[in-house]
Subunit: 196 residues, 2 copies
DNA sequence: GTCTATATGCTGATAGAC
DNA sequence: GTCTATCAGCATATAGAC
């Protein structure tokens, strides 16, 4: 594609999104000004409005992209039919994927209240679609007699909360590798649903 | 104690704290103005500064009080020496106590980044003291051969994340009572640490 | 595509009247 | 103890020059 002289739109756009994500994660959506985002990118505040209609849309786009990418990545995972293997794969996938994107995860979980009602509803649909992936596994295992899950919805929420919690304390410099953490959590998850 | 005519300080103070907690939980610390808090209470913005030196102190006091109350309430629980019973009691206590104070819990977990460095450090000490209560139980059970917890710190964080997660989805109008949720979660926690 | 300049309004906090 | 009035600054978003 031809590009006009002096045009930076193909690089400035992503830079704005990256800067906004980092700042929203660190300080919170309401506490970050458009001027701060612009300063991080190296442009003036007015220039941001070439790439987003307003601040709210910027937040929504970041959250929507994160959840869409998450769903696509999980659906691209090679998984078999065995409930035990599927649950273990989900637990490991969830932790490793989330540990790789701490800022996006943080914003997607903490800034739900900063969304307008319409945008919140759209994000909720994506979040539920992801939860349903896990609930299907738990139901399948329960039906097969492999898991003991008296309430599959409750167990789904419990497992996801436990797995996502890793992001609140994990530090790259710590004593455990992501792989090790993922394995230890996968074991706890399996036991929690009744696998000895 | 004698009280001056026209003085409302003994009622306005708590009202300010209650309004601030509710608004901070709903919209986030940075998104709530002192004028909004004052309007909720029914006074003018300037009057708030008779009860708090600034907005930051108001947030810190709310978080500190919540964690101090939480620790005191747990320490007042009657618990025996059996690791199995102690862990079950902790899980049930954590869920029931937290479900009763959704706003305080929400603020204490979501607004950590809104604290100054000094205040953050003081809150972290309280939070760790509470986590240590659970870790002691897990270590005791591991030593007694009742639990299978290869990494007690990791298991502590996993269990707390799972239990606290209830607050993100529980609704009073829902199909499950707090007692029922607490029991179901206690079972999952016990299984997660290796109790059959 | 980015800049500067600007509009309109809200922010936390303080001073002084009552 | 509460009010009104106010300060100085920063917010989002837009208009028009280059």
């Amino acid at each position: 594609m031809a590009r006009k002289t002096g045009s930076h739109s193909d690089i400035t756009g992503p830079k704005i999104r990256a800067a906004a994500l980092r700042l929203f994660a660190r300080s919170g959506f309401a506490a970050v000004s458009m001027r701060q985002i612009a300063a991080e990118v190296g442009v003036q505040a007015g220039a941001l409005y070439l790439y987003t209609p307003d601040k709210q849309s910027l937040l929504f786009d970041l959250m929507q992209s994160h959840l869409q990418d998450l769903l696509a990545a999980w659906r691209a995972q090679p998984i078999g039919a065995d409930p035990h293997a599927r649950l273990k794969a989900f637990a490991r996938f969830h932790i490793l994927y989330h540990l790789d994107r701490p800022d996006a995860v943080f914003v997607a979980y903490m800034e739900l209240r900063s969304l307008t009602a319409d945008n919140f509803a759209r994000i909720e649909i994506l979040r539920r679609a992801y939860e349903d992936q896990l609930e299907d596994i738990l139901r399948q295992g329960q039906a097969a007699g492999v898991f003991q899950v008296p309430d599959s919805k409750l167990a789904t929420l419990a497992v996801i909360a436990m797995l996502t919690g890793v992001n609140t304390w994990y530090r790259r410099e710590g004593r455990l590798s992501p792989e090790r953490v993922a394995d230890l959590y996968a074991d706890m998850v399996l036991r929690a649903v009744g696998v000895p």
